[in-house]
Symmetry: C2
Subunit: 308 residues, 2 copies
């Protein structure tokens, strides 16, 4: 799947991923109204709105992008119905040949991580039948529990030809509280990065490992160091746009081949119609606004890479 | 809810929690067969088996124990249907006046943690209606992202009178890989413990904070240190029994008042009928075996506390 991701990026010339993180206040009124008219002001209603909203964005952008990254929390907040919309979104994106990165940030002790891996990137055998509960291509994993919390994901990914992105340096303001603390003279995130390389060496694709890393766009200097430390590791970079990262800040996340990183934008794409630059599309044209924002993002990043 | 937890512990004289972590190979054949007969060898079928299995254990033990801790991964592995069984289990345990600790180990950047908090310990407003998506009393939280990943949980918990347990030192063999690394002469888990105290000071119950800590039974020496470092913090202690912890090793997790810790056992209770000591109950009597194992666990821990 890392090979597919790389192929998709080469085909689209777009090392980006659209974060499908639907919030109620992002969703255009006409979509919400229609869903509520059909299902009431209920969890079913909001889940229907989430699904229709996502479908519009996927339909308007899938030919331009290699991947989507639904953030499961934004669905889980609506309970079971929300999680159904999550699954439906993942399945639909895969139908459109997009790579699906499930931003689930799971991680637990061995047997429990194995259960998460089964549910999200694996298969479950029930009697004589086999089921695929969720069906992401990649998931994000929290490293706090160490190797035996991560290895079960790698093991399932090896069987399924899938991958993970391990949190190394997150994009949020307080990520440094623990991640930046020095251990034998080096910050914790570098030690985690070192382990990511080790875990990844057991599951390599053609040029990159199936075990990637998450490093926030908001910390470009750290990205530069980590890029060198993890040359075969694909870096998922959240925090572009709304969280503050810009194309020119992100060039060092990429290798010389122009690959090795995939930049995520969520709000900046899916709620583009709310920005002044795309206001002309209006709420009814939210999906076209997202398409325009995707094109601008691709331009921003490719220009930055070319002119470095 | 921390006050309720303390009250429940005093009432039952049992500082324990039963981990409802249903694995297919723990479940008695008669339950699985019946569920498959009704729903087929499907995700629905396995979810029905999970629910019936849990219901049996809750019915057989609820009068002896203060709380249950369903591990959501064990349900999530069966997809949407599994998560329905998770919710049903949580709801039923609450009907039986048990405190429900959702072992979800979530944690993300601010707005995303807020969504998880809404989904699990909060309420969601949809139009003029308000819904409770899941409905745990406590959830476990991963601290790797720092304060702004944890605070949204605390904020929602303040509104809802609920609480969290933050991972400090986990019970698994490789937990030391990052958690034990020394930062300015002290292990990372102590720095996390210090933050837990800080976060907890903003949401105090009568004697203990609504912000607790997870410290594995498998590391009793560290538990002793953390107990002193976090006197007002309730400690959730996984790893008793199957993972290796014993009552006498755990006395230092408790304060002088005999409170301050709650020991979790999962497999040791819910799959007790598979152990030699409880084999006489047979698979049909699995729930009675669980009841007997609960009684033995309470005895082991209370004797250890008394004779310290």
């Amino acid at each position: 799947m890392i090979n597919t991701l790389v192929d998709n990026i080469k085909k689209t010339n777009a090392p980006i991923v659209v974060g499908l993180d639907p919030m109620l206040n992002y969703m255009p009124e006409h979509i919400v109204k229609k869903a509520f008219a059909e299902y009431g002001e209920t969890l079913e209603g909001v889940a229907e709105a989430v699904w229709q909203y996502n479908k519009g964005i996927i339909d308007a952008t899938y030919d331009l992008i290699p991947a989507v990254k639904p953030q499961i929390a934004m669905y889980e907040q609506f309970g079971i119905e929300g999680l159904k919309a999550y699954k439906r979104t993942c399945d639909y994106a895969k139908e459109k040949d997009l790579v699906v990165i499930g931003d689930i940030k799971r991680g637990d002790i061995g047997s429990t991580s194995a259960a998460y891996a089964t549910g999200h990137v694996g298969k479950v055998k029930i009697g004589n039948n086999t089921f695929v509960p969720f069906n992401e291509d990649f998931v994000t994993v929290n490293p706090y529990l160490g190797t035996d919390g991560v290895k079960p994901f790698v093991d399932v990914c090896k069987e399924e030809n899938k991958g993970i992105f391990v949190l190394v340096k997150t994009s949020n303001p307080s990520s440094g509280e623990f991640q930046d603390r020095l251990i034998d003279g080096r910050p914790l995130y570098e030690w985690v990065g070192e382990k990511v390389v080790e875990w990844g060496s057991e599951h390599m694709g053609n040029d990159y490992s199936y075990v990637g890393a998450v490093v926030g766009a908001t910390y470009p200097e750290m990205g530069k160091i980590l890029r060198k430390q993890m040359p075969k590791t694909f870096i998922l970079v959240p925090g572009y746009g709304a969280q503050g990262g810009k194309g020119k800040d992100l060039v060092h996340f990429f290798n010389e081949d122009g690959l090795g990183a995939i930049i995520n934008s969520s709000r900046g794409i899916i709620a583009a119609y709310k920005q002044e630059a795309y206001a002309k599309f209006g709420a009814e044209g939210y999906a076209d606004a997202s398409r325009a924002a995707v094109k601008d993002m691709i331009l921003d990043i490719s220009q930055a890479i070319e002119s470095r």
